[in-house]
């Protein structure tokens, strides 16, 4: 797995570009399933006031969530977090929206949504409601939608472990709009697993910050474990994602640095 460790001052124009990556998604290791609320507390380190005051729209596997304690995420899940959104549909998608009935067919826990998830999982090669990691990792289509159009994101639930058999794995997390802007920098500072392909447009600027796998730091906090050796890093870098793809992952950490001249440090870090 490739690793990038940067130190940027607060005004560096690279910051917003890196923060913007978080709308595409990053991955966090999780042991077993937990509620969305607990995941936000423990893995993302969001405090309760932020969760209640700023997280207004939540999707688990593309299903809008109304109850943060009932909705659960685990290995293979896809979680998206947003502030309150405009438009009638923005209001419809909010947690406990007065207009929730408008999207009742796709809400988390609805019979239709659950059926769709099961069907997508089965299509990916798993038993009902799940797809095993090997089929997803092998690049099999994750749902009839993706297969049919070739342009849509993959179907639901692919790559999710069997219900009742919690195991370690990765959750794909997407942060949108204000949540991305407000919490992105702190998460980048702790370090994230991102799809390597997403870093391609920034390759020239990130080159000087690339570290060899042996130099990877092991982060504090149980939820964030960067791979420390090449064997585990290779395995983890190919973990199937919720979208059924098995992208090559990279570890990215961005630390705030005091303002200095735009130079590459001798330790391989980029300081600006």
């Amino acid at each position: 797995m490739r690793s990038y460790d940067l130190a940027l001052d607060g005004r560096d124009p690279l910051w917003p570009e890196l923060v913007n990556l978080l709308q595409t998604g990053f991955r966090i290791e999780v042991e077993g399933e937990k509620s969305v609320r607990d995941f936000m507390r423990e893995a993302l380190l969001f405090d309760d006031a932020y969760i209640e005051g700023s997280i207004s729209t939540v999707f688990v596997d593309s299903q809008p969530v109304d109850d943060l304690d009932a909705a659960r995420v685990g290995p293979g899940s896809r979680l998206a977090l947003s502030a309150a959104m405009p438009g009638l549909v923005g209001a419809i998608m909010r947690i406990k929206s007065p207009y929730a009935s408008f999207r009742s067919a796709i809400s988390y826990g609805s019979a239709t949504a659950a059926g769709a998830a099961a069907s997508a999982g089965a299509a990916a090669g798993g038993s009902a409601g799940r797809a095993d990691a090997s089929s997803a990792a092998a690049g099999e289509p994750a749902g009839e939608g993706a297969a049919a159009a070739g342009t849509g994101e993959a179907g639901l639930a692919a790559g999710r472990p069997a219900a009742g058999k919690p195991a370690g794995g990765l959750v794909l997390v997407k942060l949108f709009n204000a949540v991305m802007a407000e919490r992105g920098p702190a998460l980048l500072e702790r370090g994230l697993l991102v799809d390597l392909s997403e870093l391609a447009p920034l390759a020239e600027r990130l080159g000087a910050a690339e570290r060899a796998p042996a130099e990877l730091p092991r982060l504090a906090g149980a939820a964030f474990v960067a791979p420390a050796d090449s064997a585990s890093s290779e395995a983890q870098s190919r973990q199937p994602a919720a979208d059924g793809h098995a992208p090559e992952l990279a570890f990215l950490r961005v630390r705030a640095a005091p303002r200095s001249k735009n130079t590459a440090g001798s330790d391989g870090e980029v300081r600006r």
Partner: protein
Amino acid sequence: MDKILRIDVGQTGLPSVKTEAVGAYAGLGGRALTSTIVGKEVPPLCHALGPENKLVIAPGLLSGTPAGQSGRLSVGCKSPLTGGIKEANAGGQAAQVLARLGYAAIVLEGAGKSDTTYLIHIDKNGVKIENDQRLKLLGNYALIDEMKKRYGDKVACISIGPAGEMKMASASIACTDMEMHPTRHAGRGGVGAVMGSKGVKVIVLDDAGCETRQPKESEAFKAANKVWIEGLKKHPVTGGGLPNFGTNVLMNIINEAGGLPTTNFKTGQYAGASKISGESEAALEIKRGGPATHGCHRGCVIQCSGIYNDANGNFLTKQPEYETVWSHGANCNIDDLDTIAMLDRLDDDYGLDTIEMGATIGVAMEAGLLKFGDGAGAIELMKEVGKGSPLGRIIGSGAAVAAKAFGIERAPVVKGQAMPAYDPRAIMGMGVTYATSPMGADHTAGYAVTANILKVGGYVDPLKSEGQIELSRNLQIATAAIDSTGMCLFIAFAVLDQPETFQALIDLINSFHGLKLTSDDVTALGKSVLAIERDFNARAGFTKEMDRLPLYFKREKIPPHNVTFQIKDEDLDKVFNW
């Protein structure tokens, strides 16, 4: 705003001009006024481009006042796209200026003559009209540049581009923004074609020497406006999400929900969504020196717009809105913001509805005229519309006509009008509104999320799934009422969450006009507007069978949720039972 300006283009020589008191239309503004005039004065069975149709342009009840967000302009007529009644509205400067000139409405009527390109200039001294052939077939940008040379940059313009002059059913009417760019459009339903049928190219509004409209109860108005603006600024959507990222902040959300129509409504998610999201768009605008937070008219508090510069830092277009980025982007599989911005620029220049154009290009892609994802091809196709070539005229006639011409069943339309950026299978409640709105498939028809505050028809339990019919009804009523105030619909979010902000809106109307309206009165206004519009459509030959989505939405599942539209026809028929 106590007079109506009637311009009869059918007179010998130049059009006749008549100013009359508002009379029976007193107390109405915006959509309430346009729909009432059209309902009373336009024969429903007339041809939309014929002499019996009228184009009504009306500011809202609070336009031209210091009330924040009061700059919407309503345009009404019989629609050449749907064959029914139409109200389309736009931001920009025109509503404020027209209201300060004292006009409740401009009505263009009579039989348009061939080869007229009327320029109508209105100021405090009156109305001047000339037939200026030099303006013929100019794009909106070149036209407005010429108006700036002649009248300066303090005027507001209402104009059509070549699409309107060629009477295309997707033609829009442009209003200039604060920088005098023709970027704010009454887009839907082909209203620009009706203006073109009257031979009118541009209306120049100059309010120099005119006073701001004064409220009847000055202190009460000031107090209400203070609460109103505070309410808009403190709300996380109107005070944060919209100004920071624009309306396109919805892209990631709707995509995540699986309700983003992609590949001509074949799937509900687009792999390139994050490349064209509001977050990416705002970052690019800032990088290129264009503000990502900007208003479309003076007095805008929310500032949901921005300036989109090209790679060299030169102005290209205003910040393309969510519906535009969706229609030209996800729906056509185009994930390049510069291509989408260029398509938006062309839409504005030719005077076209961005929703209808994106949907139509999607149909053309499905028909094999070009491949999905072909941005350069989409731009070339748009240029055919601007030229008025035979192919361009088919595209400019909208998605329904293009689908017929190319032998495609999958035209995402209701009553001939293309659906906006929310798939009605994943978000079924939107489908109820698309199906039943008198306007055709229209997201703003049920946009005003005030329904449960107004408690129209009783409170709807949000936890029950069977409330979609009632909610759609309530939303359409509330929207019709807000469209009549001249208020931007984005106020609805602050009003939804903050009852004191909703009360401030009623207080603004009451203190300005010396009225004692209650929320019940506002509800009654919304109902009456819808009743007028439904009655017009019924007399135009519309039946309940036209309040339906195309059948393939019941047959074809939309991934990733793999759902179809499941609302029963008999339930759709209950929407207007009140």
